[in-house]
């Protein structure tokens, strides 16, 4: 009995994503890739130096979020899976922020030619 219930539960979970939805997410990813290309051809430094990188990262982050939430079914997963996903981003943030803590506080004279 429990096995049947488990099976039904899995079945319902998989129904969250239908073929049209998969195709929709795929199209979002394709548009994201095209956007990344065109954003790279425009010099956005007039906003602030490094704006191109920020835009590229924002698009990449959006695409990655789509993959994670829908292709990987995190959106419909238990809270423990959410916690794991958030924790891995937290750890990535640690790596980036502590590394930048070095780069942003260096004496520019030391490494400049």
């Amino acid at each position: 009995m429990a096995e049947y219930e488990q099976h039904d539960h899995d079945h319902i979970e998989h129904d969250h994503m239908t073929i049209p939805k998969y195709i929709g997410i795929f199209l979002v990813l394709v548009v994201g890739t095209i956007l990344t290309y065109f954003a790279a051809t425009v010099d956005l430094d007039f906003i602030f130096p490094g704006a191109n990188t920020l835009v590229a990262l924002l698009i990449a982050f959006t695409k990655m979020t789509c993959v994670m939430l829908f292709f990987m079914h995190v959106y419909w997963s238990p809270r423990m899976i959410w916690l794991s996903a958030v924790a891995s981003f937290f750890w990535l943030a640690i790596m980036f922020s502590y590394t930048m803590q070095d780069y942003l506080t260096r004496d520019p004279g030391v490494f400049s030619p």
Binding site: M95, Q101, D102, F111
Partner: protein, 554 residues
């Protein structure tokens, strides 16, 4: 229940994981965590021996200041390959993959790990990664140091950098899968009544280690991949001549490799918690503090990697922050040390071989940990960086800590794993030789390093006396490490039957037969006692059973 401890079984051999199939196929396609652990045991032992041979070559070369045994290029390869084999193929997998694999499911009352096929896959990935690395070493080896620092590794080294890197890359997946398996197992496979705060501290330590494995190992994989991209495609990532930054490599490398130190030592601390409490026959002091200190080490261990980079060109501000956090990460380790000591206080201590290793760990890890604070102090470290002080500190933690704990764990669980007792006499002799040999090898290196002897180079003649001490100590250490290979093998052939609970302990692993059956327990256990419960609450008459000690005095 008491019968399970004391009864002598005289019928035909019980079906257990060892006699449940003898064909090669039954081993190579097994999903039994115990058989997989045994295959890991054999493989990591081979890597340990290979790494030990390289260590012997290093110590022989350093017997004199001149390069009379190895040419300089060969010497670079020898210390590099010693580091790579020992760290990636012995220290990281040994306790989790051997002892964790074998004991963790039994300790929590599970039939197996949650993902048995993934467990077998993990072993195969380890074999493939190891084989790839060994092939690369046999082809000519690598000379970058185990740290693969750029730009030497990307631009200048003409050795098998990428082949070895690929071996490490592959091996990382084994580590990730093992960690994943342990986390899922602890969450989903605990026996009825086995609450989180009844888990043995070895399980808490393995759980914390698994978190580090999963969160850290992908970063080293990416780092090696970026190194390959730069080396082959000349994309500027780390090489400043093409727009890269070599210090970025160090950030990425140490983001994994410092927590990797905790992958190595945390499981060892778990073993020591078992040994100290059980051989003091006393409930461990401050269970919750020890459990959460493992988690704290896993978390804070990710915040201190910059202390490997104080003189790399990293900013002074970053150095200050990393120095402060390094002092913070010492606190949970100190909590463990204090609690182990408090556990022994007024305990009924028995000096069996595993306990000798346990006590040895406490002394050696104390020295290793405290000298780490010297190296974490941002001023003093400028003098000590890249000297033998660092080599000594690292070996006090890794050999004095992890290897000693691993040996203690092997001796402790050997009767359970094999159903046989080894010679206590030779066990104690070996433990003492390892302790004496280890100190004779590495303590002089603190003095040498403080006096300015650089690592990875030769040395001026005035340092020779201490180097002779060190090499002599390495010989004693070598004998101490070879002895277990002999008497443990001998025990398999002619050792006395161990019985189910030779140490008279309350843990779940001691309530099943030795060797355990394929499904670990004949009947699913229901846990009604706290961890390390030696009183009547454990449901066993441990003191009565302990009176029958004949099995232990071989």
């Amino acid at each position: 229940m008491q019968d399970a401890i004391t009864a002598e079984y005289s019928g035909p051999p019980k079906l257990n994981y060892l006699n449940n199939g003898f064909t090669l196929k039954s081993w190579l396609l097994t999903k039994d965590h115990k058989r997989i652990a045994i295959m890991y045991l054999i493989t990591v032992s081979l890597f340990f021996m290979a790494g030990g041979l390289y260590a012997s070559a290093i110590r022989l070369e350093l017997l004199t200041p001149a390069s009379d045994l190895l040419q300089t290029g060969t010497y670079n390869k020898v210390f590099t390959q010693h580091g790579i084999l020992m760290i990636f193929f012995f220290l990281i997998p040994s306790i989790p993959a051997v002892l964790g694999n074998f004991i963790l499911p039994i300790m929590i009352g599970a039939k197996d790990l949650a993902l048995p096929r993934i467990n077998l896959l993990s072993l195969y990935i380890y074999w493939v990664g190891g084989a790839f690395t060994v092939w690369a070493l046999l082809q000519g080896g690598v000379d970058t140091g185990w740290t693969f620092y750029t730009p030497y590794s990307t631009t200048f080294s003409n050795t098998y950098v990428m082949a070895v890197g690929l071996g490490i890359f592959i091996n990382g997946f084994s580590s990730i899968l093992t960690g994943l398996n342990f986390i899922v197992t602890v969450h989903t496979m605990r026996a009825p009544g086995m609450t989180w705060f009844r888990l043995p501290l070895f399980v808490w330590a393995q759980y914390a280690t698994s978190l580090v494995m999963i969160l850290g190992t992908p970063v080293i994989a990416i780092t090696v991949l970026l190194l390959a991209i730069e080396r082959f495609a000349r994309v500027g990532i780390f090489d400043p001549t093409i727009g890269g930054d070599p210090i970025l490599f160090q950030h990425m490398f140490w983001f994994y490799s410092h927590p990797a130190v905790y992958i190595m030592i945390l499981p060892g601390m778990g073993v020591i918690s078992e040994l100290i409490s059980n051989f003091s026959r006393k409930k461990i002091f401050g269970y919750e503090f020890i459990a959460f200190s493992s988690i704290a080490i896993a978390v804070f261990g990710f915040l201190v990697w910059g202390h490997h980079m104080f003189v790399s060109g990293q900013s002074v501000y970053a150095g200050l922050v990393f120095s402060f956090l390094t002092m913070v990460v010492a606190v949970p380790s100190a909590i463990k040390m204090f609690n182990w000591t408090a556990t022994m206080y007024k305990g009924s201590i028995s000096y069996d071989t595993p306990m000798l290793y346990g006590i040895g760990f406490m002394g050696l890890f104390l020295i290793g940990g405290l000298t780490g604070l010297f190296l974490g102090a941002i001023g003093l470290t400028v003098h000590l960086t890249d000297t033998y002080f660092v080599v000594a500190h690292f070996h006090y933690v890794m050999v004095g800590g992890q290897v000693i704990a691993y040996l203690g764990g092997i001796h402790y669980w050997w009767p359970k794993m094999t159903g046989k007792m080894y010679s206590e006499f030779w066990g104690k002799i070996s433990a003492m030789l390892v302790f004496v040999g280890f100190n004779l090898t590495f303590f002089p290196q603190f003095i040498l390093g403080y006096m300015g002897m650089p690592r990875r180079y030769s040395y001026p003649p005035e340092f020779q006396v201490l180097n002779i001490f060190s090499t002599a100590g390495a010989s004693v250490l070598g004998v101490g490490l070879i002895l277990p290979l002999i008497y443990l093998t001998q025990s398999l052939i002619s050792g006395k039957a161990a019985g189910d609970n030779p140490w008279m302990l309350p843990g779940l692993e001691w309530r099943t037969s030795s060797p355990p059956p394929t499904e670990n327990f004949d009947v699913m256990p229901v846990v009604t006692w706290e961890a390390y419960e030696f009183g009547e609450e454990s449901g066993l008459d441990l003191e009565g059973a302990r009176a029958n000690e004949s099995v232990r005095t071989v």
